[in-house]
């Protein structure tokens, strides 16, 4: 009955050209990203399987958040190929050349991906309930009554059923982030992206957000999480990727990467974080 399990079936039927379970949810091939003369990503190759939780770790400025923003095309990539559910993100490929998609096509791609931001970014002029309902009603044109029911269920699920009519300014950081997660889930995404979801929170509020994320992971949601929470990565992630200076330095099982890192840069980073 969880929302995520409903999505898994949806994404396999709704998927693009190759609706096979074998198609990875995310596939990055030699992804580059430059801002002006600064090359932030210098050839990222990785795959995220369906139902998998991947954590991206690395020092600030390593490019991990940028990579996350490429996945829903908040930033266009500079070179390489990035596929979500078998389809190129933001482009179509004809005769080996990338062609920019129309805005409406990009919007349709984004609507299928949930994103949670470091600074929550809840819509300040809307209540928690209105925040959660806005996209399903406005973008997907779903019936208001059905969406409202689902939105209240989602708020309940993140433990905020009693805060539906509160404005973001009346909620704590942890509560705001949980509403933000409910807002993303309301679109029934096939994939959830988390950009340092606990970095802006007071230490005592981190746990409540991580609990919601753990619950989501258990329900089978495919998740990519940029985080500094090593404990969360070790406990929940199926896959940990360490990025530094725009390249994947090390990747594998969290137990392996986090407790017995092979690369000196991973070791140096973990010794500072832990």
């Amino acid at each position: 009955m969880t929302i995520a399990s409903g999505d898994t079936s949806k994404s396999t039927t709704n998927g693009a050209s190759q609706p096979l379970a074998s198609v990875p949810m995310i596939k990055a091939v030699n992804v580059h990203k430059s801002f002006g003369h600064i090359e932030v990503l210098r050839g990222i190759d990785l795959e995220v399987q369906r139902g998998e939780v991947m954590t991206l770790l690395g020092p600030s400025g390593s490019g991990k958040s940028t990579f996350l923003r490429l996945i829903n095309h908040l930033e266009p990539l500079s070179a390489g190929r990035l596929y979500v559910d078998g389809s190129l993100v933001g482009y179509s490929e004809r005769n080996g050349r990338l062609h920019e998609l129309r805005p409406s096509a990009i919007e349709r791609q984004r609507a299928d991906l949930g994103m949670v931001f470091q600074r929550f970014n809840l819509f300040g002029h809307m209540t928690a309930l209105e925040n959660v309902m806005e996209a399903p009603v406005g973008v997907r044109k779903e019936k208001r009554t059905a969406v409202q029911k689902r939105a209240l269920e989602l708020l309940d699920r993140v433990g905020l059923g009693d805060k539906a009519s509160s404005y973001p300014s009346a909620l704590s950081g942890g509560q705001q982030q949980r509403v933000a997660i409910a807002r993303a889930l309301a679109m029934q995404p096939k994939l959830m992206l988390f950009d340092e979801p606990t970095s802006a929170l007071d230490p005592e509020l981190v746990g409540e957000v991580l609990d919601v994320m753990k619950d989501l992971a258990r329900s089978g949601m495919t998740m990519v999480v940029v985080t500094h929470e090593i404990g969360f990565a070790r406990e929940v992630a199926d896959h940990a990727v360490f990025i530094d200076d725009g390249v994947v330095v090390e990747s594998g099982e969290p137990a392996q990467v986090l407790t017995n890192p092979q690369h000196p840069r991973t070791k140096a980073f973990l010794s500072k974080v832990l």
Binding site: L74, E107, A111, M115, F123, L129, G138, L152
Partner: protein, 302 residues
């Protein structure tokens, strides 16, 4: 000991600092106020009886109505045009944003009084106005003076000028909304227009409203410039009266009192408008609690 007594009583009596300077300012203010009242009552040149007669006279009231009309229509044009120009100026299309910049540059860079005169003398520049194919045949045409009446000239002059100022106010409001709001909307698959309409503009309103209120008040007073076009708004109506009876000061006072009354009403209206648009700063909204109860009750009944 002292600490415990202080803790027991929530408010401790403190000897307040004395402000002897305040009594001096009170005294000065009282003397000045008395002088003002005295001169208002004793100087017969104010002509309060004349003011009392004309303040509700038909001629002045019809001017007042026209002033309000001008203000409302010119502001409506200004706000609509300003919103459009602000979005154009922020557009990624260089032709569109340059046009908006050039418009704002021109209309802010010349006095509104001169612009009004230009519209008033439009027929000297183009005696006839026509509609047709560019560089091709003209389909419709008419005398400029029959199209651009003093009223139309006033509306165009005030409205087009206001558009430039409103554009900058709206643009400032849009830019004041955190970039994260737009990103969150984009990530949910919202289109550019929907993001603007549903997310950015409502939150920009609290930055846009206060200066817009000032613009309305300013517009109300700027309409008096239209008297130069011989359009009988409030000031020109007063001028028409005193050109015949030579009671200049009482009629200027009459007009001023009406301007003052209307700007006071607008100031009060602005206060309530600002309060309305800052509502998300204050606790849960009643409307939403009510809506939620309606949905939750049947669920509990089951």
């Amino acid at each position: 000991m002292t600490a415990t007594t202080a803790a027991l009583r929530s408010v401790e009596p403190v000897v307040k600092l004395r402000h002897p300077g305040r009594w001096i300012t009170y005294a000065v203010a009282a003397v000045l106020a008395a002088m003002l009242v005295n001169t208002l009552l004793t100087n017969n040149n104010f002509g309060w009886d004349v003011v009392g007669h004309y303040i509700v006279s038909g001629q002045i009231l019809s001017g007042l109505v026209k002033t309000v009309e001008l203000t409302v229509i010119a502001m409506a044009i200004g706000v609509a045009l300003g919103g459009l120009l602000a979005v154009m100026r922020l557009s990624s299309n260089p032709a569109v944003s340059s046009f908006a910049s050039a418009y704002i540059w021109f209309f802010r860079g010349t006095p509104v009084f001169v612009q009004l005169l230009f519209w008033g003398y439009a027929s000297a520049l183009y005696p006839r106005l026509g509609l047709g194919v560019p560089f091709g045949p003209t389909l419709l045409s008419a005398e400029t003076n029959s199209l651009i009446t003093p009223f139309i000239a006033a509306i165009l002059g005030l409205g087009l000028n206001e558009g430039a100022y409103m554009a900058e106010i709206v643009r400032g409001g849009i830019l004041s909304v955190d970039r994260g709001q737009t990103e969150a909307a984009q990530a949910l698959g919202m289109s550019h227009l929907r993001t603007l309409r549903r997310i950015v503009v409502p939150q920009a309103m609290r930055v846009i409203i206060p200066p817009t209120g000032n613009q309305v008040i300013s517009m109300l007073k700027t309409t008096s410039l239209v008297s130069v076009l011989a359009f009988p708004e409030l000031l020109y109506s007063a001028q028409l009266v005193y050109s015949q009876n030579f009671k200049t000061i009482p009629l200027l006072l009459t007009a001023s009192l009406w301007y003052l009354l209307m700007t006071s009403v607008l100031t009060i209206g602005q206060h309530y408008l600002e309060r309305h648009f800052s509502r998300s700063d204050r606790g849960p909204s009643r409307r939403n609690i009510a809506a939620q109860n309606v949905i939750q009750q049947p669920a509990e009944a089951r």
